[in-house]
């Protein structure tokens, strides 16, 4: 453990890139130590004075962030090699854990880089389309009370409903890369949520068709990395296992019905 009283600077080593076509490069920065900072607030400080550790004035670092309280999912990046939300990465804890050496920031590697730490995660939203991640209501108008839902089912679904589409699980998944068509742990878990809902269940087969198709649930290699990195602590492996059972039952039923 490092004694924070002895720390004079918060040091960062940041992997940068000017645009999607340019090569990456590294730059070091440091700001005077202050307690209770996080990676977003440190990046904001650098933005006010974009000078590298060796005194060179450079363009400020570009990154994505919005809510600063770990509910919007915007600020995912690799922090000392771990995919997580930058706003919730407290510098005091990082220094205590890793010591006084520079904290290393990189963009997620499974998505195209836009600039510096900012990546394009639109593929995740496209994958939600593939698994029909919505309840197919007749319309949004008022027609009276919705279906009842047992408290125990709500608790399972509510956990899944926290998924911010932040991309940490895909970054950690050994079976997902920028070229693979694996829908990913988050999308599989979403199917469980919609298939639990009394109206959503009516389209359960459509979603299961997507899960048993190419790039579906069979691409999961059960490494369990997704669950370990999920910032919302969603028990992704349990939800994938539950969907595996649903998918198997569905395949067998289809086979017998032929």
């Amino acid at each position: 453990m490092v004694d924070l009283k002895s720390v004079k600077y918060i040091k960062l080593r940041i992997k940068r890139r000017d645009d999607p076509k340019s090569p990456s490069y590294w730059q070091d920065f440091q700001i005077p130590y202050r307690p209770n900072m996080n990676i977003v607030s440190v990046l904001m400080e650098i933005r006010k004075n974009p000078v590298t550790a060796d005194g060179q004035t450079v363009n400020p670092v570009v990154w994505e962030c919005n809510c600063l309280e770990e509910v919007c999912g915007a600020c995912s990046m690799l922090i000392n090699g771990v995919p997580r939300q930058a706003c919730a990465a407290l510098t005091d804890k990082l220094i205590e854990k890793y010591g006084d050496r520079p904290i290393q920031l990189e963009p997620l590697t499974k998505f195209p880089v836009i600039r510096d730490l900012m990546v394009d995660r639109s593929k995740m939203f496209d994958n939600l389309k593939r698994v029909h991640a919505w309840v197919q209501v007749d319309g949004s108008w008022a027609i009276g009370r919705g279906p009842r839902l047992a408290d125990k089912d709500q608790r399972i679904a509510y956990e899944i409903a926290h998924c911010m589409t932040c991309g940490c699980c895909l970054e950690a998944c050994p079976n997902y890369n920028s070229k693979s068509d694996f829908v990913g742990p988050n999308a599989i878990a979403q199917v469980r949520m919609f298939n639990l809902h009394a109206i959503g269940r009516m389209q359960a087969e459509e979603r299961l068709d997507a899960l048993v198709a190419k790039g579906g649930i069979q691409d999961c290699g059960n490494s369990q990395n997704c669950k370990r990195v999920c910032p919302k602590h969603i028990n992704l492996t349990a939800h994938i296992a539950a969907m595996n059972r649903q998918a198997n039952a569905y395949v067998i039923k289809n086979f017998l019905d032929k």
Binding site: P20, M44, P60, N66, C67, V137, S140, I143, Q154, H162
Partner: protein, 577 residues
């Protein structure tokens, strides 16, 4: 009309609901959003959404919801639209339930209801303490389905930077910029809905997300749309202290039993319970915020001598807390370290919500035909103080009004905008391209982020809980200096791709315009009403100020006028809790 199209700007609850209502009528929508819509600020709303579902045997009613909202807003809200909102709230919540919102349930599977501030009944439907997130995701899913059906084209990571207004003063679309490639282009449309949220970033640190700059509202203001009731900014009583953000600790904590206290004479002092025996910890936000301020600043009784008091739910069972409030307990523990299940949280009031906003008629149309506004960026439903859990409601409800109003408006048009726009689109794009090119070459002395810090500091000091005319005058002078200094900004980022500083500098100019609207409105309102409190004028003054403030942009300055409030349903009475 063949090529009918609508542009919706903003992908939070109001924008998504408007989009859904318009596409359900087979009119395609271009949805423009600063961030992927799923990351919009609605995601931060915690405690719940009000609707008189009356499932708790309390004889709750839409009439009581209407009364509480008007009374809680200190009679400044136009009553007819508020009545519409409360009447329609139960149907809206049930529709959201059908779409799959994972509301917290009772033992027989109904939507559970908790109590909120300024209310005696359980009227707040909730999904733990992440209700905004759950509602937003559900509308995001529904709009994604419309996207698959070919009815919605999303332009995420795009910023609206101007309106297309034709020679007759009719809105025919917007100009927006791709925040990655920096491309500027026109989006021609038959109608435009602005649903861009509040403007907490004017104050720097607040409970808001960093996209909540009010820049879009400022663009409308500069085009001659009045900004209404700008001086009414809600200060939420319970937020965490922080360097970068003042993270909200939901009112639902108190709804579920949390108590606010500090030490007096060495003993815990539950000052809200003592001063307000009837409502206790659930007095409305303006009152709770003023009391906490009074105890800390005037009486010097803050915890550890600092401006902070305890928000305490450590007496409640952990199981109960985890089911209902886990979302905020996790935030507190992540960012502060202490476990609020075991030790009281330290909190202080923070800027939270804009009751004021873009002036619209009761169908959410502005004074520019074809231009609509919905959600927190409008001024419609909350008067001088918003009751907790009415914002998720007004965000969604205003979308259910604006959407159909857009459809009706388009039904009355003779020709599609695409056919009649002429060269307005090209001219406006050229103008904005020139503006943008000028920004890229700003090499003055001012760092934009530091200039913003200076502005927020003085705004926090003089335009929040306690307002004094002398300070407001001084602030307005300062704001004009900041506007001058803006011209001497150094852009600091000279990259040509995904340049966030250019976008920020442009937004900063809008924030300065709106800051002057806030301060000017506050200066001229010599009374105390809801969130607007002046010790020099401690009483509400209906004879002079039962009026909506309108700020209209004129030659660089706000010009103020006042409009009567619709009070046809409930006669104004003194507000006491």
């Amino acid at each position: 009309m063949e090529k009918t199209k609508v542009v919706v700007v903003g992908g939070g609850l109001a924008g998504l609901m408007s989009t859904l209502k318009i596409t359900e009528k087979n009119i395609p929508v271009d949805l423009i959003s600063l961030v992927p819509v799923k990351r919009s600020h609605s995601v931060c709303a915690q405690g719940g959404v009000n609707a008189a579902l009356d499932t708790k045997g309390q004889h709750d009613s839409v009439e009581q919801h209407f009364y509480d909202t008007v009374y809680g807003g200190d009679f400044l809200a136009n009553q007819t639209p508020v009545k519409g909102m409360c009447d329609n709230a139960p149907g809206l919540i049930y529709a959201m339930d059908r779409m799959g919102v994972m509301f917290t349930r009772t033992s027989e599977g109904l939507i559970d209801l908790r109590r909120f501030g300024g209310v005696k009944n359980n009227r707040t439907a909730f999904a733990g303490a992440t209700t905004g997130q759950q509602l937003l995701y559900t509308l995001d899913e529904q709009v994604r389905r419309q996207e698959v059906l070919g009815m919605v084209n999303k332009y995420e990571n795009w910023e609206m930077i101007d309106l297309l207004i034709d020679d007759n003063g009719v809105c025919k679309g917007v100009v927006a910029q791709d925040l990655a490639t920096m491309e500027i282009r026109a989006f021609v449309a038959d109608a435009v809905v602005i649903a861009t949220g509040g403007a907490g970033m004017i104050y720097g640190r607040s409970t808001n997300s960093i996209i909540n700059t009010g820049a879009a509202a400022a663009i409308l203001y500069k085009h001659g749309v009045p900004f209404a009731n700008g001086e009414f900014v809600q200060i939420h009583p319970t937020a965490m202290l922080g360097d970068d953000k003042l993270r909200l600790m939901s009112e639902s904590a108190r709804g579920d039993g949390a108590r606010i206290w500090t030490y007096k004479d060495g003993k815990p002092w539950y000052f809200l319970e003592e001063r307000y025996p009837s409502y206790g910890n659930l007095v409305p936000r303006d009152i709770a915020a003023r009391e906490i301020y009074d105890v800390c600043v005037n009486m010097g009784l803050g915890i550890d001598g600092k401006n902070q008091v305890y928000l305490d739910l450590s007496h409640l069972p952990a199981d109960y807390l985890n089911k209902r409030l886990k979302g905020i307990l996790d935030i507190y523990q992540t960012f502060y370290g202490d476990d609020p299940r075991k030790v009281p949280m330290k909190i202080f009031p923070a800027v939270h919500y804009f009751m004021g906003g873009i002036h619209v008629d009761w169908e959410h149309q502005t004074n520019i035909p074809g231009l609509f506004a919905a959600g927190e960026c409008d001024y419609m439903y909350h008067g001088a103080n918003r009751l907790g859990a009415n914002s998720l409601l007004s965000a969604m409800y205003s979308g259910t009004v604006a959407g159909p109003a857009v459809v009706k408006y388009i039904g009355g048009l003779q020709a599609a905008a695409a056919e009649t726009i002429g060269n307005i689109a090209d001219l406006t794009v050229k103008k904005q391209q020139a503006e943008h090119d000028k920004l890229t070459k700003m090499t003055g002395k001012e760092n934009p982020y530091k200039l913003h810090d200076e502005m927020s500091e003085i705004m926090y000091r003089n335009a929040t809980i306690v307002r004094v005319n002398k300070d407001l005058e001084e602030t307005d002078v300062k704001l004009q200096e900041f506007q001058e200094r803006w011209n001497d900004i150094n852009i600091t980022d000279f990259g040509g791709y995904s340049n966030q500083t250019i976008m920020y500098v442009r937004e900063l100019r809008g924030m300065m315009d709106l800051a002057r609207v806030i301060v000017g409105g506050a200066l001229r309102r010599n009374e105390s009403r809801g969130s607007h409190y002046k010790p020099e004028f401690p009483k509400r003054d209906d004879a002079n100020f039962l009026k909506t403030t309108l700020a209209t942009y004129k030659d660089g300055d706000p010009e103020f006028s006042w409009e009567d409030v619709d009070i046809q349903w409930i006669k104004p009475v003194e507000r006491k809790y």
